[in-house]
């Protein structure tokens, strides 16, 4: 390893590997739409983990209150006034390997439940989002598509 060429090659390999790893992890960042089309979710990075919050709602107004929808089913009563627009549905995802993020959770505002969740990227514009209780076998997978949000 005393050969300077070997040292250079080793350094180059480590450097490029690190960059590639970071790029793959950040592939998740962007705006995504679940199959039901009711919301659009922007996935961002905070620290070393990934989080997704609602940036658009198909029906933003609550038909009962005639006001913007809030997280009325939150188990924590003090937080039932949190607006759904901006709400973080996806939390604490860690990049595991190419195209896979794990150890996260997904929240369902329609019943106030939080589920374990994994994300698999089928291609750059398609995600498999699997929510489950306990073990992954008992769950449901939804397909999310990447969007580009442009200013209106």
């Amino acid at each position: 390893m005393k050969n300077p060429i070997n040292l250079f090659l080793l350094f180059t390999l480590l450097f490029t590997s690190t960059i590639t790893f970071a790029q793959q992890a950040d592939d998740l960042v962007g705006v995504w739409e679940p199959s039901n089309g009711k919301v659009r979710v922007k996935i961002e990075k905070i620290g070393t983990k990934y989080f997704g919050r609602i940036v658009w709602l198909k029906a933003p107004i609550d038909s009962v209150t005639n006001k913007p929808k809030v997280d009325k089913n939150n188990p924590d009563e003090a937080l039932r006034n949190v607006p759904l627009k901006g709400f973080r549905l996806l939390k604490d995802f860690t990049f595991k390997s190419a195209g896979e993020w794990t150890e996260g959770t997904i929240y369902d505002p329609e019943n106030g439940s939080t589920y374990s969740c994994t994300i698999k990227m089928k291609n750059k514009n398609t995600l498999d989002i699997r929510g489950y209780i306990g073990i992954s076998a008992f769950g449901r997978t939804d397909v999310w598509k990447r969007l580009e949000i442009k200013k209106q």
Binding site: K42, R53, I54, V55, D76, A78, P83, K85, R88, D92
Partner: protein, 170 residues
């Protein structure tokens, strides 16, 4: 709608209130003052997110308390006030949500103000009574995250600051 924000916390103060709690542990108040946030322009109406890093150092508290406890057993947010800087006011936003995040701790939503009282420079958030946040104080660092729901597009950046107060039990 791209928001990238991270400003350092300009100043933080640790205040200590010693108390004994019937053998269940010693309590202290931990204050974070003037945590700074910047929502970078251009901003679009709707939910915008900003964050600030906060490095934790409980050594002064432990010294004052005379405790060698290795970890915080429970923590509760007891006060959260957000300040609009410069000429900005609550007229710009519909709501603000405060969360804590960490690299080794699951994110916790800890306080909200919705709607905001018009024409004010400061907002007092309502804290969660159930959020369990002790683990954040056993880390070296946490992220303070603000979600600000803006009423309209905005072509200039929006600066905010926060004063937070936590009750810790060792």
């Amino acid at each position: 709608m791209k928001i990238s924000t991270l400003l350092s916390i300009s100043f933080f103060l640790i205040a200590i209130v010693l108390s004994s709690c019937g053998g269940s542990g010693k309590k202290a108040t931990y204050k974070i003052e003037k945590a700074s946030f910047n929502l970078e322009a251009p901003l679009f109406s709707g939910a915008n997110s900003t964050q600030a890093e906060h490095k934790l150092d409980l050594s002064a508290i432990k010294k004052e308390l005379g405790t060698d406890a290795s970890e915080v057993k429970s923590a509760k947010l007891i006060k959260a006030v957000i300040y609009f800087q410069d000429s900005a006011s609550t007229d710009l936003a519909n709501s603000i949500v405060l969360s804590l995040a960490g690299d080794k701790v699951d994110m916790a939503q800890v306080a909200v103000a919705n709607p905001l009282e018009a024409g004010k420079k400061e907002v007092i958030l309502k804290g969660s009574s159930e959020a369990e946040i002790a683990e954040f104080f056993n880390q070296a660092m946490m992220y303070i995250v603000l979600d600000v729901d803006l009423k309209n597009d905005k072509e200039s950046s929006l600066k905010l600051s926060a004063n937070l107060e936590f009750e810790l039990e060792f």
